[in-house]
Amino acid sequence: MDNKPIKEPIRKKWIWIVLVLIVLGNVPWYMPAGSYEPLILGIPYWAWIIVGFSLLLCAYLSWATLKHWNIVEDIEEEEKRRKANE
């Protein structure tokens, strides 16, 4: 078995700091209550910002899941290959 370090999201603090920052950006507490103009393509300016943060959140979580999580994957896939070859 190789000694490649395992990747577990909980061990990387920056993942969670960035996540909290995105979530804070995703809630419109920092914009003046009641304002909605300008409307861009019929959508209030602030909603564009919130939707932007929402999509960023999706992309970030999707990416973190794929790239920063690898604990037993290599072992499992190796085993699967071995079984398939038998």
């Binding site: 914009m31 003046p32 999707s62 037993v72």
Partner: protein, 507 residues
């Protein structure tokens, strides 16, 4: 939703077709597998062997119910653009999974967990903690199931314009669900979820297309109308609403991720790669599910203005009615869409019921009543108890509550209290059973009392979140204060969940 232009029989026809497909899937997924009913792992977790397609769709169809449409579109209608939060709080669930699923997956495979309580029991070795956690989970699941049963009846009776009465619709679909679940267990649930998830996805897109057609493709015109009549629905929400928005993210994020049926999908994954890929796709589902439903609600403000709260709850039916009136194509599509809503509700209900049964089999009967019973008997006890539970809930469902969203928040309030034990316990060796118990109990009492006395939120913060904060505080401070003598055996068990020791015990 009683005045649809759908003539009753067309709706009945489509609903029957859905029912037949579900039964067929259930029959074929259980057929040929003789060990299915002899093993809890096979029956409740599909032999821990769910592949990518089945796992992704079962995560999707379980998380998004028909309620996501019937309940969320009216909420968007009433609150306006502030309901963009529904995208965020559905996405954050994946973030919370990322906190604990990677390690829990590895441990659950090693130790062959069936239910979330297996983990709680292994970690804390305390009857009190396990029993309290099981009760909270059953309470949350029961309430959730009840909500789905009510929704099945409402959706089906409105689809058929009352040709199928509410009670008949509920009973018919509950029977279908019970039969396919009995036949195929988790396999049947997951494979029907593929069908149910697909029709839900496609249905939302077509419904939105119909709504856009009705406003003449002019979204800007619709919001212009809102700006003239109800500008508050366009504006940046008040600070209190933002606080509530954040609280909702915490409540749904923490609550939905540790739902027993959600956790059991981690256990059921075929491999880490399958689980990762499913979560990574799931992270993109909120914009194209709750996001599109949000737009439908906003368009509804322009299409059917001035509905009161009770009237707005009928929004999806009213809009479906207008869309169906466009032409023959949209007429049939709307009938299929409403069938899809019913199917989506069934797909959530079946997962909840299966999880409920598994907890009865494994945690109540298997752990406390008859630990030495053969697995076949444990499975049977869970299945039969599940049917009784449904019968009791049906009796309650006869008198459905007024709005759906209210019960949605209620179910998370207590369930979320299991979170500290469940997740902190994974990483923090010092965490001790006694403070965990008192934290969980205090959190549940705070959440319950606040909700029952009508203080669902305080300064915008949900009672469940306040309870959770107290729960965390007690569990953490308490664990620092108590000195626990750890036996050698317990020390060994703790090592097994520490990934640094992984290789030693895996070899």
């Amino acid at each position: 939703m009683n005045d649809l232009t759908f003539s009753g029989m067309d709706g009945v026809l489509i609903l029957s077709a859905y029912a037949v497909v579900m039964l067929l899937i259930g029959y074929f997924s259980g057929r040929g597998d003789k060990t299915l009913h002899d093993s809890m792992s096979n029956y409740y977790l599909a032999g821990k062997n769910l592949g990518f397609i089945a796992l992704f769709f079962t995560l999707y169809a379980t998380q998004y119910s028909g309620n996501t449409i019937i309940g969320y579109a009216p909420t968007a209608y009433r609150t306006g653009f502030a309901w963009l939060q529904s995208i965020t709080f559905m996405t954050i669930i994946i973030g919370v999974y990322l906190l604990f699923a990677p390690r829990l997956y590895v441990i659950s495979k090693k130790l062959n967990f069936i239910t979330p309580a297996d983990w709680i029991d292994y970690r804390f070795k305390s009857k009190a903690v396990t029993i309290l956690a099981v009760l909270l989970m059953l309470w949350g699941l029961g309430n959730y199931l009840l909500e789905q049963l009510v929704a099945i009846g409402q959706a089906a009776s409105s689809l058929t314009g009352g040709t199928i009465p509410y009670q008949v619709a509920v009973i018919a679909f509950v029977l279908v669900m019970l039969i396919y679940e009995w036949l195929g267990g988790m396999k049947a649930v997951a494979f029907t979820d593929v069908m149910q998830g697909l029709v839900l996805m496609v249905g939302i897109v077509i419904f939105l297309a119909g709504a856009v057609y009705l406003v003449g493709g002019n979204f800007a015109g619709a919001t212009q109308f809102i700006a003239e009549t109800e500008p508050a629905k366009l504006g940046v929400p008040e600070m209190m609403t933002s606080v509530n928005w954040l609280s909702m993210i915490l409540l749904v994020g923490f609550g939905a991720a540790i739902y027993p049926h959600a956790v059991q999908r981690i256990f059921a994954a075929e491999s880490e790669r399958t689980l990762k890929r499913s979560f990574s796709r799931m992270a993109w589902m909120p914009p194209i599910t709750t996001g599109l439903v949000f737009i439908i609600g906003i368009l509804g403000i322009a299409l059917i203005p001035n509905l009161d709260v009770a009237g707005s709850e009928q929004l999806v039916g009213l809009m479906a009615n207008e869309i169906a009136g466009i032409n023959g194509f949209f007429y049939w599509v709307m009938i299929i869409f409403f069938g899809a809503i019913v199917a989506a509700i069934v797909s959530t209900a079946d997962s909840v019921l299966l999880s409920f049964s598994s907890i009865v089999s494994n945690d109540i009967y298997g752990r406390f009543i008859n630990p030495n019973a053969p697995e076949r008997k444990k499975v049977l006890v869970g299945k039969v108890t599940g049917i009784f539970a449904v019968a009791i809930l049906l009796w309650i469902a006869w008198y459905p509550p007024a709005t759906l969203y209210e019960i949605f928040v209620l179910k998370f309030e207590l369930l979320v209290q299991v979170f500290p034990a469940f997740v902190l316990g994974l990483y923090w060796k010092r965490m001790a059973a006694q403070p965990v118990f008192w934290g969980m109990l205090t959190g549940a009492i705070i959440a319950g009392v606040l909700t029952w006395t009508g203080h669902k939120t305080i300064f915008g913060v949900h009672g469940g979140v306040i309870g959770l904060a107290a729960n965390f505080l007690i569990a953490v401070v308490g664990s620092y204060l108590v000195t626990v003598t750890v036996t050698e055996e317990e020390e060994e068990d703790l090592k097994k969940i520490d990934l640094a020791y992984r290789r030693e015990y895996s070899d």
